[in-house]
C-alpha cells in the first residue's frame, strides 16, 4: 500500500489552489475533488481472509468496499398526485416534482405502499407532525407530551450503528439543516424534540444532530489549516482521554454521594430515577467519546485529510446550506469516517418560508392547501425543490469512485422520505419513499415498485440485514422483511 502522501496523484484531496481562497471557492474546490480517485490510497485491496473478516464486522459490500446507509428526511409529506411516478417496475416515468432525479433515475427505486401506522392519530388526537417526526426512524408511537417525559424508541440507524458502527471512527453521523427550534410544544402537545431529532440512541435519548457545516468538518478532520489538522486531532484526543477519565469518575461519585445519603439510615438526599437517568446519559456520552477516540487512534494516521478550507459556517441561502451539509456527508462517506448517517432537511411540520424561490408563505401552511390551486402549485414547487437538493447529493455520490471502482452511490443505500404522505390530509400510508443506490449489488435500482401495503419498518429490517446487523427479529411495528428490493 502506498502511503497517502507518496504521490500527488494519489492524494485525493490535494488542492492546487492551496488555502488562500474563500468559502466561495471552497465550494468550487469540493467540486474539483470528486473527479479525483477516491479511496484507493488508504483502503487496500483485501485478501480473501481480510474480506471475510470485514464481512463479519459488517457494513461491507460483496467486494469488500464499505457499504453506506443514509436516511434523508424532508418535511410535511408531498402532493402525491404530482410526486409518484406513472407506470410501474422498470417502465415508469418520473412525475413533475421528481423531475430533478431524471439523470439518476436508473440508480433509484421508488417504493410505494409503505406505511407508518404509529404516526396516525389513533388514540392520541392531533399532532400528526410531531408523531410522524418522532416515529419516522423509530417505528413506534411516541408519547404525547410537551417535554419532561418524552418517550420515543431507538431509531433504526442507531440499532445498526450499535452493531456495525465500530468499523469507522464515527459510529454514525447526525446532520440537520433545521436550526429553527421553537419554545414549548411544537405540534399540538408533542415536544419539539420529536421533530428535531431523527436519531434516538434510546427511547429517552435523542442524538442531537449537528447543524453547522463548519463543526461537522472539524469533527471529521480536525481544526486548523490543512497541514495542522491531523496533528491537532491526535493531540486533542490524547488530552481528552485523561479529562474523560476524570469526569467519568466524577459522575460516578455524584451518584454515590446522593445515593449514599439515602442509605445512611437517616433518609436524606437520595437519587431520583430522573437524576440517575441524567447521570447515566452523561456517562454514556463520555464512554461513547472514549470509544471513538480509541477507534480513531487506530486509524487516523492512515486517513486522508482534505486540503481544503474549513467551511465558514451556515450559509444564508437554504439551498446552499443544505448542499454544504450534503458535501460534508459526502466527504464523511468518501473518507470512510462513517457508514451510517441521518440527514434532516427540515423538521416535520416545518413552516419555513421559501422566499428564495418566490414563495413567501410557510411550507406547512402551503401543504394544507385545501386543494386551492395556488397553494397546491406552491406545495409542488417546494416538493420539487427538495427533490432537487436530494439529486445534488446523489449526483455527487454517483460521480465519486469508490475503492472497488464502482461509484460511491453503487455502494450505498440512501433513503429519502417522510413520515407524512399527503401533507394536506395528514395521511401515513403509501408514504413518499425513495431508496437510492445499489447497496453494493444488494439493491435492484431503476424501478418503481408498488409494494403490497406494509410497514415502513419492514424496509428498515431489510436494510439492517444488508448492513450486516444481526439478530433483529422485529423493529417498531414491523411484520416481516420487505422483499423485492
Amino acid at each position: 500500500m502506498k502511503s497517502p502522501s507518496s504521490s500527488s496523484a494519489n492524494r485525493p484531496f490535494a488542492s492546487k489552489l492551496g488555502h488562500g481562497f474563500g468559502r466561495r471557492n471552497f465550494l468550487r474546490g469540493l467540486g474539483a475533488t470528486i473527479a479525483l480517485p477516491a479511496l484507493e490510497t488508504f483502503l487496500p485491496r483485501l485478501t480473501a481472509a481480510q474480506l471475510a473478516e470485514a464481512a463479519a464486522a459488517g457494513a461491507v459490500t460483496a467486494s469488500g468496499a464499505p457499504l453506506r446507509l443514509a436516511f434523508f428526511q424532508f418535511a410535511n409529506g408531498t402532493h402525491p398526485a404530482k410526486w409518484f411516478p406513472t407506470g410501474e417496475n422498470r417502465e415508469f416515468a418520473l412525475n413533475e416534482t421528481m423531475e430533478a432525479l431524471a439523470g439518476i433515475k436508473h440508480k433509484i427505486q421508488i417504493l410505494g405502499g409503505l406505511a407508518l401506522e404509529p404516526a396516525t392519530a389513533g388514540p392520541d388526537g392531533a399532532g400528526d407532525h410531531g408523531r410522524a417526526g418522532g416515529s419516522f426512524l423509530t417505528g413506534v408511537r411516541v408519547k404525547k407530551t410537551q417535554g419532561a417525559d418524552f418517550h420515543s424508541g431507538i431509531s433504526i440507524d442507531q440499532v445498526i450503528a450499535q452493531q456495525v458502527g465500530h468499523v469507522t471512527p464515527f459510529k454514525s453521523l447526525e446532520i440537520s439543516c433545521d436550526t429553527l427550534r421553537t419554545a414549548g410544544d411544537c405540534d399540538s402537545g408533542y415536544a419539539c424534540v420529536y421533530q428535531h431529532n431523527m436519531a434516538w440512541s434510546s427511547p429517552t435519548a435523542p442524538v442531537a444532530p449537528e447543524v453547522n457545516p463548519r463543526f461537522l468538518f472539524e469533527r471529521l478532520f480536525g481544526s486548523g489549516s490543512p497541514a495542522e489538522r491531523k496533528q491537532n486531532l491526535l493531540m486533542r484526543q490524547q488530552q481528552q482521554r485523561s479529562i474523560l477519565d476524570y469526569v467519568a469518575n466524577e459522575s460516578r461519585s455524584i451518584g454515590r454521594e446522593l445515593a449514599a445519603a439515602a442509605k445512611d439510615g437517616r433518609g436524606s438526599g437520595g437519587l431520583s430515577r430522573r437524576d440517575q437517568e441524567k447521570l447515566d446519559q452523561y456517562l454514556t456520552s463520555v464512554r461513547d467519546i472514549e470509544q471513538r477516540i480509541e477507534r480513531a487512534e487506530k486509524s487516523v494516521a492512515d486517513r486522508p485529510t482534505p486540503a481544503m478550507d474549513t467551511p465558514a459556517g451556515i450559509p444564508t441561502s437554504f439551498s446552499e446550506y443544505i448542499r454544504l451539509n450534503m458535501d460534508m456527508l459526502h466527504l464523511a462517506f468518501q473518507t470512510d469516517n462513517t457508514r451510517i448517517a441521518t440527514f434532516l432537511l427540515a423538521g416535520e411540520g416545518s413552516n419555513r418560508d421559501f422566499a428564495e424561490i418566490g414563495i413567501p408563505d410557510g411550507h406547512h401552511y402551503c401543504t394544507h392547501h385545501g386543494n386551492k390551486p395556488d397553494l397546491v402549485a406552491k406545495t409542488c414547487v417546494i416538493d420539487k425543490w427538495y427533490a432537487t437538493q436530494f439529486s445534488y447529493f446523489l449526483d455527487k455520490m454517483e460521480k465519486t469512485k469508490d475503492v472497488d471502482g464502482k461509484s460511491l452511490l453503487d455502494n450505498s443505500m440512501i433513503l429519502y422520505g417522510c413520515g407524512n404522505a399527503d401533507g394536506n390530509r395528514h395521511t401515513h400510508a403509501n408514504l413518499p419513499i425513495i431508496l437510492a443506490g445499489g447497496g453494493g449489488g444488494a439493491l435492484d435500482a431503476g424501478r418503481y415498485v408498488k409494494h403490497e401495503p406494509a410497514p415502513l419498518t419492514n424496509l428498515y429490517l431489510s436494510l439492517a440485514d444488508r448492513m450486516g446487523a444481526k439478530g433483529i427479529e422485529r423493529f417498531g411495528d414491523s411484520t416481516g422483511r420487505l422483499a423485492n428490493l
Partner: protein, 858 residues
C-alpha cells in the same frame, strides 16, 4: 408559539366530545403528565394507608362533593353520560382518593370557567365552587398542609445562556454558545427545564471543545511576560483626526467571523497614526500585523507603504497584488516615558490601469502590538493571571509546586462547582496538571493548571447543578428538607441572573447565612445589571415575544389586504420586516416588563396601562407622533390609544400571526394560554379544511369573521372556539405587523364580541378593561405558575397548587405588586425545599465507602 398551530386556525372542526379535548389540555404550566420521580414520591408524601377503613377523602367526597357534582356535572359526566371519558358517578374509591391528576384537571377547568360550560343549565354557585375546590386542594390531592410537598428538581444541566454567563463570571472571557452548542430543548414553554435538558455524545464533545477553547483564551500559560499594549481599529486616527473604521477580512485561517482590520486601498493616498502612552523607559518591540488582499483575479496595481515612528521613517515597502497574504513586521525601539506615535502612509504607485471589472488591492492593518519593556526585570503577569493564580511566582520545589497546584485548583473547582470541592475531586486534577506539565515538551506549570481546568469545565459538577439537602446531623428520617445553602445560592443566581452565584452569595452560603439574609440579597441581586437576564429570558419565553426576531412575515402580502401596495425596497424589500424593527419590538416588551420589575409596579399593568416603551422606529410603526431617536423610552399614551399592556404589543401581535395574515385563533389561544390560565387542547384529528365550508352565495367573499363563524356552527368546535375566537377577533384591528387598521379588503373590521364567561365588549380597549376588572385572579395564577416554572426549572404539578394559591392570594392583597410575586416564588416551599428519596438505589450507583457531608465549610 408552535409552528404547527399555524395550520389549525382554518382547519377546525372538532369531532370528539369536548370534555376529552378539554381534559387533554394542559394548564398554564401545570401539565397532565406525571414526572417519573413522582409515583415513588407519592408513596412517601400522599400514600393512603392500606386499611379496611374508608379513606377520609372518600368519606368527605360522598358527604360534600358528590352532591355538587350530581347537581352540576352529571348531565354530561354521570347518570350514564360519560363525555370525555369522565363519569363522576363511576369513580372507585381509588379514583376519588388517589388520582390527583384527574382532580387537577377538574380544578383547572372549574377555575378557568371552562366547566361547567356557560350555556349549561346548572352553573356552580360560589359556595359550591369553594367547597369543590377546597376538597380537591386538600383531600383529593392528599397533601398535608403541615408538611407540604416541595417536589424535586432533577440534576440540572446548564443551558446555553447559563453556560455562557457562567463562563464569563468564572473565567472572565466571552464564549458564544449559540453557535457552539445545539439548541436546548424546551419543556413547559421554557428552555431551562432540568428534565428535558439532555446530554448526548455530540454535546459532550462540544463541551470538551468549549473547555479547551475557553481555557486557551482565559488561562495564561506563563508567569511573567512583557507588558503588551494593542492598537487596532478605532485606536488609529486618520490624518484629519477622525477615528478609523474597520472592516472584517475573511478567509483562510481567520475563523468563521473573520477579523477586523483598517483597510487602505492601493488606489488612494491615505495616512493613519496612533500615539502610544509609555510609562517606563526601555527597549520595546513594535509588531505590525498586516495583510494584503486582492480579488481572486490578478490586477497589476501597486502601492508604497511607509511606516514612521515618532515622525521618522522605519520602513518603506512596495506592494503588488496578492490574493490574501498575512505578514508581520517587527521594529525594535528604545523609548523614554511619554507619547510615541506610529504612522502608516500609503501612496499609489504608477501601474497599468485595472482591467474591466478588476478590484482594487487593499492593504489591511490588523493591529500593532507594543511589547515591553523587554527587560525581564520589568515583566508583568499576563492578563487574567491573578484571577486564577494567587502567588507571584511558582515554587521550584516539586512538593511545594504540588501544594500550590492544589491550592489553585481547589479554589477554582470550588467556584466552578458552586460548592466546596472535596479533595477526592481536587487530587486527580492536581495529577492531570502535574502529568501535563512534566510530559508535554515546553509546558509550564500554568499550562498544566490549564489542562486540569479543562477537566473541571467538562465535569458534571460544573455542567450540572447538583442540589443537596441541608441535613441536621442525627435527625430522624424525613421526606423533605430545605435545600442546602449552596443549592439555594445557585437557585437564586440562576433564577435572577442566569449565571453562577457571585462571591458574596458563595460566602454567605459557606457561612450558612444566606437563607437568613434572603430579602437583602434578592434586593441586591435585582439591582445588579445581571438581573437583565431574568427580564430577557423570562419575558421572551412567557410571552414568546423573543420569537419576533425570527417569525416569518411578509409585509407586501399583509399590507395588500389593506389595499396598500408595498414597493420593493420598503420594509426590507417588501419581503421581510427589518431586523431593526423586530429588535425594537422585542425590546419594547422587555423594557415594559423591566419597568414593572424595577419600579415594583403592579403586574396588572401587563394587562393594561396608559404607557409603553418606544423609539422612533416603533412609534412610526404604531403611528404615534413625537418620538425621535433610537433610544427606547417610556411614552405616555393619549387617552383612548389602544396600546398599553402586553396584549397589544407588536411583538405579541406578530408572533401570533401567519406569514401573510393575522390569525385570530392563534391570538385567542395565546391569551388563553399565557394570560388567562385556560389553555385550550389541540384540535382533534381529521378535521376538514375551513375553506370547504362553502360560502352561501358565490358572489359574496366572506370576511374572516364570517369564515370563522363556521367554528361556532358545530357544537363540538364551539366548545373551544367560543373561547378563542372572540379574543382573537377583538385584536383584528391590528394587522400581522401589529399596526392599527380599521378595514381589511375594504370591509370594516368588527372587533366586538362576548367572552365565554358572558361579558360583552365593543373592542380591544373594552376587552382589556374587562380582563383587568374581572379576570385578575386567573392572570395572577397564570403568571405565578409561569414564573415558578422558570425559577425552579421544572413543570408545576398538583402538589404545587397550595404554593401557587398562596402567592396568588398575596398578590390580590397587595394589588399585584411585582415584589410580592417575586418574593412569593423565592420563599415558596418548592423553591426553598426538596423532596428526599429514602429508597433503594439502582445498582448502577453503588454506595461509596464514605459520604462526604456537604455541611457548610467552616
Amino acid at each position: 408559539m408552535s409552528q404547527l398551530r399555524t395550520s389549525h386556525p382554518w382547519l377546525v372542526a372538532s369531532v370528539v366530545a369536548s370534555a376529552t379535548a378539554l381534559l387533554m389540555g394542559s394548564g398554564c404550566g401545570q401539565t397532565a403528565s406525571l414526572p417519573a420521580g413522582a409515583p415513588a414520591a407519592k408513596a412517601v408524601m400522599a400514600a393512603p394507608q392500606p386499611s379496611s377503613r374508608e379513606h377520609p377523602a372518600v368519606a368527605q367526597f360522598h358527604k360534600s362533593v358528590q352532591p355538587i357534582l350530581e347537581a352540576r356535572c352529571y348531565e354530561c359526566h354521570g347518570d350514564g353520560s360519560k363525555k370525555g371519558g369522565i363519569a363522576f358517578d363511576a369513580l372507585t374509591s381509588k379514583g376519588i382518593a388517589q388520582d390527583p391528576q384527574l382532580w387537577l384537571k377538574v380544578l383547572k377547568n372549574t377555575r378557568s370557567h371552562i366547566m361547567p360550560p356557560l350555556d349549561a343549565d346548572n352553573p356552580l354557585t360560589t359556595a359550591e365552587r369553594a367547597a369543590l375546590e377546597g376538597w380537591i386542594t386538600t383531600s383529593a390531592f392528599g397533601l398535608d398542609p403541615a408538611q407540604p410537598d416541595p417536589g424535586r428538581v432533577t440534576v440540572h444541566r446548564l443551558n446555553r445562556v447559563e453556560y455562557k454567563n457562567t463562563i464569563r463570571d468564572l473565567m472572565g472571557v466571552h464564549f458564544e454558545t449559540n453557535s457552539a452548542f445545539p439548541d436546548d430543548d424546551s419543556g413547559y414553554g421554557f428552555d431551562n427545564i432540568a428534565d428535558v435538558l439532555n446530554m448526548s455524545p455530540l454535546l459532550m464533545e462540544k463541551y470538551l471543545a468549549a473547555a479547551h477553547t475557553v481555557v486557551e483564551k482565559a488561562v495564561p500559560k506563563v508567569t511573567l511576560t512583557p507588558a503588551v499594549q494593542i492598537a487596532d481599529v478605532g485606536d488609529f486616527k486618520y490624518a484629519d483626526g477622525t477615528a478609523t473604521e474597520g472592516k472584517l477580512i475573511r478567509g483562510s485561517g481567520l475563523g468563521a467571523a473573520g477579523i477586523p482590520a483598517i483597510p487602505l486601498t492601493f488606489a488612494k493616498e491615505a495616512a493613519i497614526s496612533h500615539v502610544f502612552d509609555v510609562k517606563q523607559a526601555g527597549d520595546y518591540r513594535l509588531v505590525i500585523e498586516q495583510n494584503i488582499r486582492g480579488d481572486f483575479t490578478y490586477v497589476p496595481q501597486r502601492a508604497q507603504l511607509t511606516v514612521t515612528v515618532d515622525g521618522g521613517q522605519v520602513s518603506q515597502r512596495d506592494y503588488g497584488w496578492s490574493a490574501n497574504r498575512h505578514t508581520e513586521e517587527v521594529h525594535a525601539v528604545h523609548w523614554e516615558p511619554g507619547n510615541h506615535a506610529i504612522g502608516f502612509a500609503i501612496t499609489p504607485l504608477p501601474s497599468d490601469p485595472l482591467p474591466r471589472g478588476g478590484q482594487d488591492v487593499v492593504y489591511n492593518l490588523k493591529k500593532v502590538r507594543l511589547e515591553g519593556p523587554l527587560d525581564p526585570a520589568r515583566w508583568v503577569h499576563p492578563p487574567n493571571y491573578t484571577r486564577f493564580f494567587t502567588r507571584a511566582a511558582v515554587p521550584a520545589d516539586p512538593a511545594q509546586r504540588r501544594a500550590y497546584a492544589k491550592e489553585v485548583l481547589g479554589a477554582f473547582a470550588t467556584k466552578a462547582f458552586r460548592r466546596p470541592a472535596t479533595s477526592e475531586s481536587v487530587e486527580p486534577l492536581v495529577d492531570i496538571a502535574e502529568k501535563y506539565s512534566v510530559t508535554t515538551p515546553g509546558a509550564t506549570f500554568e499550562a498544566g493548571i490549564g489542562q486540569a481546568m479543562m477537566a473541571v469545565l467538562a465535569s458534571p459538577r460544573f455542567l450540572y447543578r447538583v442540589e443537596k439537602p441541608a441535613l441536621t446531623p442525627g435527625a430522624t428520617l424525613a421526606s423533605v428538607a430545605p435545600v442546602d445553602e449552596h443549592s439555594l445560592a445557585s437557585r437564586l443566581s440562576y433564577f435572577l441572573w442566569s449565571t453562577m452565584p457571585d462571591d458574596e452569595l458563595l460566602k454567605l452560603a459557606a457561612a450558612g447565612q444566606l437563607r437568613a439574609n434572603l430579602g437583602v440579597q434578592v434586593k441586591r441581586m435585582l439591582a445588579d445589571p445581571r438581573s437583565a437576564e431574568l427580564v430577557e429570558h423570562f419575558t421572551g419565553q412567557w410571552l414568546q415575544s423573543r420569537l419576533v426576531t425570527s417569525v416569518p412575515l411578509n409585509p407586501r402580502e399583509i399590507l395588500q389586504r389593506e389595499g396598500i401596495t408595498v414597493n420593493a425596497g420598503r420594509g426590507g424589500g417588501g419581503g421581510n420586516v427589518s431586523d431593526a424593527l423586530r429588535t425594537a419590538f422585542k425590546e419594547e416588551t422587555e423594557k415594559y416588563f423591566e419597568h414593572v420589575v424595577r419600579e415594583d409596579r403592579s403586574v396588572d399593568e401587563f394587562l393594561t396601562s396608559d404607557y409603553t416603551f418606544l423609539n422612533e422606529t416603533l412609534a412610526s410603526s404604531y403611528k404615534i407622533e413625537g418620538v425621535k431617536g433610537p433610544e427606547l423610552r417610556k411614552v405616555t399614551l393619549a387617552a383612548g390609544d389602544p396600546r398599553g399592556g402586553m396584549l397589544t404589543m407588536g411583538s405579541v401581535l406578530m408572533i401570533t400571526s401567519n406569514p401573510t395574515r393575522t390569525s385570530p385563533v392563534k391570538r385567542g389561544k395565546w391569551i388563553l394560554d399565557n394570560i388567562l390560565d385556560a389553555p385550550t387542547p389541540p384540535p382533534p384529528p381529521d378535521i376538514p379544511a375551513l375553506e370547504e365550508a362553502k360560502p352561501k352565495d358565490a358572489t359574496h367573499v366572506p370576511t374572516l369573521r364570517e369564515t370563522m363563524a363556521v367554528h361556532r356552527e358545530d357544537a363540538l368546535c364551539a366548545s373551544c372556539h367560543n373561547r378563542m375566537d372572540p379574543l382573537g377577533l377583538a385584536l383584528e384591528n391590528f394587522n400581522a405587523l401589529g399596526q392599527w387598521r380599521t378595514e381589511e379588503y375594504s370591509q370594516k373590521i368588527d372587533p366586538s364580541g362576548q367572552l365565554a364567561t358572558g361579558e360583552t365588549f365593543t373592542d380591544i380597549r373594552d376587552l382589556k378593561r374587562i380582563l383587568a376588572a374581572n379576570h385578575k385572579t386567573e392572570f395572577y395564577r397564570c403568571l405565578t405558575e409561569k414564573l415558578l416554572i422558570y425559577a425552579l426549572g421544572r413543570g408545576t404539578e398538583y402538589y404545587d397548587v397550595p404554593a401557587v394559591d398562596k402567592i396568588v392570594a398575596n398578590l390580590e392583597k397587595n394589588h399585584g405588586k411585582f415584589s410580592t410575586l417575586l418574593m412569593g416564588v423565592i420563599e415558596s416551599v418548592p423553591f426553598q425545599q426538596q423532596r428526599l428519596f429514602p429508597h433503594p438505589v439502582p445498582d448502577a450507583a453503588k454506595p461509596a465507602p464514605r459520604f462526604t457531608q456537604t455541611n457548610p465549610a467552616p
